[in-house]
């Protein structure tokens, strides 16, 4: 059974319209596409932050407010709370009914943030903020993790740290959806790839198939790196 099932989901902004049906299963799914393709909107719909038309089933049930506790999302532009890096994590943990400092520090260690744990979150660099946002999401137990361009602000070293964390999550049986415009990241990381263009799902399949044997011309162009939209 699919973890997430979208049937004829439509989000109409007037000049832009997202309209698709898709099923997402456990493992890592990459939503690939250029900017403006509708990746963020799709993630926000899955995260129940956006109203929409159509049907959305979460593990077989009609998705509603109560399922928000099963999903978390990391925004592309990282938002941090006032207070220290550690405070940020502790707040997330407290919402989960868990305020273990050890757990917070363990995650910070993992994301190479332990050194700045006592620093004010607002004073972090862009890359540090992004890692903090990811750490915050990793701190809480969820069924589904949504990442919007998770490594866009990161250098190669930190990007690979984040990617490792995402892989570990997948190994523990979680469902992960990453929105990315980076074909290499999609190729490296994901089990399945959904290629989005102008709000439409152009092609959806196993990563290997999408990269080696794309059926659609647009997909072919994009994955070959020829297309920059």
């Amino acid at each position: 059974m699919a973890v997430i099932e979208l049937r004829n989901v439509v989000k109409d902004y007037g000049q832009f319209k997202l309209s698709l049906s898709m099923e997402i299963e456990r493992g890592i799914t990459a939503i690939l596409g250029s900017s403006g393709a509708g990746k963020t909107t799709l993630l926000r719909i899955i995260a129940l932050l956006e109203s929409f038309e159509g049907e959305y089933y979460f593990m077989g049930e009609e998705a509603s407010e109560k399922h928000r506790k099963k999903i978390t999302m990391v925004f592309q532009q990282p938002v941090v709370f006032r207070g220290t890096v550690l405070d940020n994590l502790l707040y997330a943990l407290s919402l989960d009914g868990n305020s273990s400092k050890e757990k917070a520090e363990e995650i910070l260690e993992k994301l190479n943030l332990l050194e700045v744990a006592k620093k004010k979150a607002k004073n972090l660099s862009g890359g540090e903020k992004q890692r903090l946002a990811i750490a915050r999401a990793l701190a809480i137990e969820r069924e589904v993790y949504l990442f919007d361009e998770p490594t866009s602000n990161l250098d190669a070293e930190n990007a690979s740290i984040v990617e490792k964390c995402i892989r570990d999550l997948a190994k523990s049986g979680k469902t992960i959806v990453i929105a990315t415009h980076n074909i290499f990241q999609a190729k490296r990381l994901s089990d399945k790839v959904a290629f989005l263009h102008n709000g439409k799902l152009i092609e959806y399949g196993e990563t290997k198939q999408i990269f080696e044997n794309p059926k659609n011309e647009l997909t072919k162009k994009f994955v070959s790196g020829d297309a920059y939209y």
Partner: protein, 225 residues
């Protein structure tokens, strides 16, 4: 200069300074008590008349204190509609008048500082598993420095204004009196009118120090928050 300083009765200066702190402090506290909830409501909840209310508060932001003072004076005069309250030429009268003056400041700074963080913090809290109510609480707590700032700004405006303190307070001073209403600004105005510029300057420096000290303390509080 020296001889004028000799004339300066520091006991009176202390009395006037304390009164300024007390009267405007109460004004700021009352304005915060009412204004912060109103600011929260205006920034977080959609209801009919919200934009209208907001524009009223924004307009009142720039109201000249003398106009406000005159208006209140006519309302509070014994033969005016609120004369029965006995508030004219009393400390409480000044406090309440200044409260009305600074209320729009509290409302609008509170509302703005919440609006600045509301969307993204609200959604972030939701993604981390907060209920809608918890998310609202988080938004307010994130806006706390701005809300604290609104209270300081309110106090600073109240303690430095003259119109209401003069029209509603009357600059009453009796040596050893128990119902005096002279505050720093009215004293400064009086000493200027009396040609005692040096005394006025000393009082002005005290007023500035008060404003600086309060702002400094509040900045510490803000950091600690």
């Amino acid at each position: 200069m020296v001889s004028l300083f000799g004339d300066l009765d520091w006991g009176i200066v202390a009395e006037i300074t304390l009164r300024s702190l007390k009267v405007s402090g109460l004004a700021a506290i009352l304005a915060s008590t009412i204004g912060i909830p109103v600011g929260v409501l205006l920034s977080l909840y959609n209801f009919t008349g919200r934009e209208f209310l907001k524009s009223i508060f924004n307009t009142l932001l720039g109201i000249p204190t003398v106009v406000m003072g005159l208006f209140l004076y006519l309302l509070l005069a014994p033969k005016g509609p609120f004369g029965f309250l006995g508030l004219l030429y009393t400390e409480m009268g000044i406090s309440l008048g200044q409260m009305l003056l600074v209320l729009p400041i509290v409302v609008s700074i509170t509302a703005t500082s919440i609006e600045q963080v509301s969307e993204e913090i609200y959604e972030l809290a939701l993604t981390l598993g907060a209920s809608r109510a918890q998310a609202v609480v988080k938004v307010i707590s994130e806006a706390l420095p701005g809300i604290v700032l609104s209270s300081i700004a309110a106090f600073n405006r109240a303690v430095a204004e003259l119109g209401i303190a003069l029209m509603i307070g009357g600059n009453v001073f009796v040596y050893g009196g128990l119902a005096n209403t002279r505050v720093l600004t009215t004293a400064i105005q009086m000493h200027v009118a009396r040609g005692e510029i040096d005394v006025a300057i000393v009082l002005g420096l005290i007023l500035l120090s008060v404003v600086f000290a309060i702002s400094w303390i509040m900045n510490l509080v803000k950091k600690w928050l």
